[in-house]
Amino acid sequence: MSEQTKLAIDTDLGYIFSDILRRDERPGYEGYIVKTDALVAFATALRDDIGYDYLVSVTGVDYPQDGILEVVYHVRKSTGGRPLNFKVQVPREQPVVPSLVFVYPGADFQEREAWDLLGIRFDGHPDLRRILMWEGFSGHPLRKDWREAYFEEEGKPFKSRWPEGHFARIEKRNPFGKNVDYPAGFDPESWVPEPETALYAGLSKMERQGDETGIGTESIILNLGPQHPSTHGVFRMAVKMDGETIVGLKPVMGYLHRNHEKIGERNTFLHNMPFTDRLDYFCSMSNNFGYALAVEKLMGIKPPERTEYIRVMMAELTRIVNHVAAIGFLLNDLGAYFTPFLYAFEERELILDVFEAVSGSRMMCNYFRFGGVARDLPDGVLERVRDIVCDRLPRKIDDLELYLTNNDIVRHRAEGVGVLTPEQALAYSTTGPVLRASGVPYDLRRADPYSIYDRFAFDVAVRYHGDVYDRYLVRIDEIRQSIRILEQVVRDIPEGPIQEGKPQYQVRVPAGESYGRVEGPKGELGFYLVSNGKPNPWRYHVRAPSFINLTPLECMCIGQKLADVIVILGSIDIVLGETDR
């Protein structure tokens, strides 16, 4: 979108809604602040009249010095263009915000997360329970006055490490047996955990009323996971079934929660780079990319030409790695036990060799820096990439397709299963292959290009049935498009410097907010950063695609058979490191 059109829309918004919103005029911030009681009306008008039909992210920021909690919304048009952000400010003592679930159903999990971690109540949310922490957890961890166990200092680097860094094991300071405080009157020995009534009550409202056969059946509740081989990690689904048919499903997550965002706010900006590797550990290069973009936006710098090419190369290799692995896992879920999976992993290993040669590690790459990358490509890497993408991968993907695409069992199991219509896919804020398999050709690399994606010829992969089979096909298509991009990258990559300015370990990040995002292999990976000019970010939020793509899981599963739930989950392609953060 040109600057002029953007300006025109901005002025229009300010004009149309002049009585309920004002411009956010803090230095480095953009967007609008909406009056709390007018939020639902504003969002509805935004969606229906102005075309911002796609809620990208909902999160909160704590500003104790001003006594406010702020909820930040990012919305987009599904036809493309830049996101619009608007905020709501509420007092810290009574943080109640009207829920947007009925305007944008995709706000469901994200509002629950904001309630869980920041303690913002969303009035009208149908199921406002904690989502990442457990019920009964005391406090809201992302509030600035909440302190974790083994708290040392507000921000790193800790003063105890240098110059008087006498080594002390952290457990020594806080010995086992004395490291817990119980509230008065609480006895851990006699404590019985509360039954998860709220969770199961949420399932009941989907129950089928009556039965055409006249024979009354009782539905049963089944828990899949957290320790279940099909759930790709420690993920749990509480399922209500009528016979074999699903009538209600609630995902339960947070078993791998480590409060990545709180750690991120203790860290300095650079410290966060290796931590982003651990989000979606299949695609650490893409995670680095998104975070680097967010910080670079705040700093106002751009990497040199060669770096841009290297970055795109790494991001596209990551996409191939992720998609072959996702297809392998999906086939595992379909019951093709490990043979397709291992064929897919052969290709993945070859690409990981490249990552290892470039960054020093196969999975935890930590390769991107602000305004550059850690090091230039070592000798021979470019040739290796050329060999892999121009010679081996195309025929191997053909092989994989011959193997799976027309396999009768795969088609029987996947076609027409877990259908998500384009309207639902947009409403539930899904991104990535899930959205594109539902017939919405939305790809950030085209819709709102970042880095140098506007230079490459490639097609946005899209399929129209929205079922598991199309999600599989979309991934195959995307691998082919990635190969296309990579062929152009290895052809055009220029020589030159790889770092803008001098490499620095303490970067100066001006105060302000920024939202950096990439089209990661699983969907839109966004980093919402707030800086106050100090070495540590004030707020560090990850818009995790595999978390938000789970929002329509129930809607995809209702009416399907139990065995299909596993396949539907597999076709969303989640990684729990990112879902639970």
Binding site: R161, P378, D408
Partner: protein
């Protein structure tokens, strides 16, 4: 849906199965337990089985491979080891999980810091192997190691690496990272020459 897709798919599996033997016959005994055999199994031309028989076989690691850091020292003529580290503390500050602990030494007479750490410890249980310490060290004193076989029976006793356990000679560094070493030495020689030229001028 007549089962043809399944049969075609089985054909792919069968091809994979046979290619292992074809490759075996083509390579003979050299396919396993030899460096060129491993290189072949890592190459783009590999067909059939690609697995490596660890620990009898090991994949060669690339030069940039990183594991836990080590401290570089230079052995003096009198046999003592002089660490390159000046205890400036940059590695401790840049370490994301904050697992580097340094005690700066002070001159007992003047009370001023001397460029040699009195104590240096890394908790390798906490180390995440990100390599930032090595990347930002201005003296090339801390580098990432290639040795990844660090399992021990008692982590409390063995996994806190002190200055002695972390120290490795320059020759070792030059052997695992020849390209980096050559580049750094060239840069140092250049800086030396520039300083000498400035002194002369």
């Amino acid at each position: 849906m007549n089962g043809l897709g399944v049969i075609k798919g089985l054909g792919v599996t069968l091809k994979h199965f046979f290619m292992t033997y074809v490759d075996d016959f083509r390579w003979g005994r050299k396919r396993y337990y030899t460096p060129e055999g491993i290189a072949h199994r890592m190459s783009k031309d590999v067909q059939g089985i690609t697995t490596v028989q660890y620990p009898e076989e090991k994949l060669p690691v690339p030069e940039e491979f990183r594991f836990v850091p080590f401290l570089v020292y230079e052995t003096q003529e009198d046999g003592t080891n002089e660490y390159r580290c000046t205890s400036c503390g940059i590695c401790a500050k840049v370490c994301p999980p904050q697992c580097i602990w340094i005690v700066r030494a002070n001159d007992p007479n003047t009370g001023r810091p001397i460029p040699d750490p009195a104590e240096y410890a890394i908790d390798i249980d906490v180390c995440m192997g990100c390599g930032l310490c090595a990347e930002y060290c201005p003296f090339d004193a801390i580098k990432m190691d290639h040795n990844y076989e660090l399992a021990t029976y008692d982590r409390h006793k063995n996994n806190i690496y002190d200055k002695v356990k972390l120290g490795k000679p320059v020759a070792y560094y030059a052997s695992i990272r020849p390209v980096n070493y050559a580049r750094e030495e060239a840069a140092r020689a250049e800086a030396e020459a520039a300083r000498a030229a400035r002194k002369r001028a």
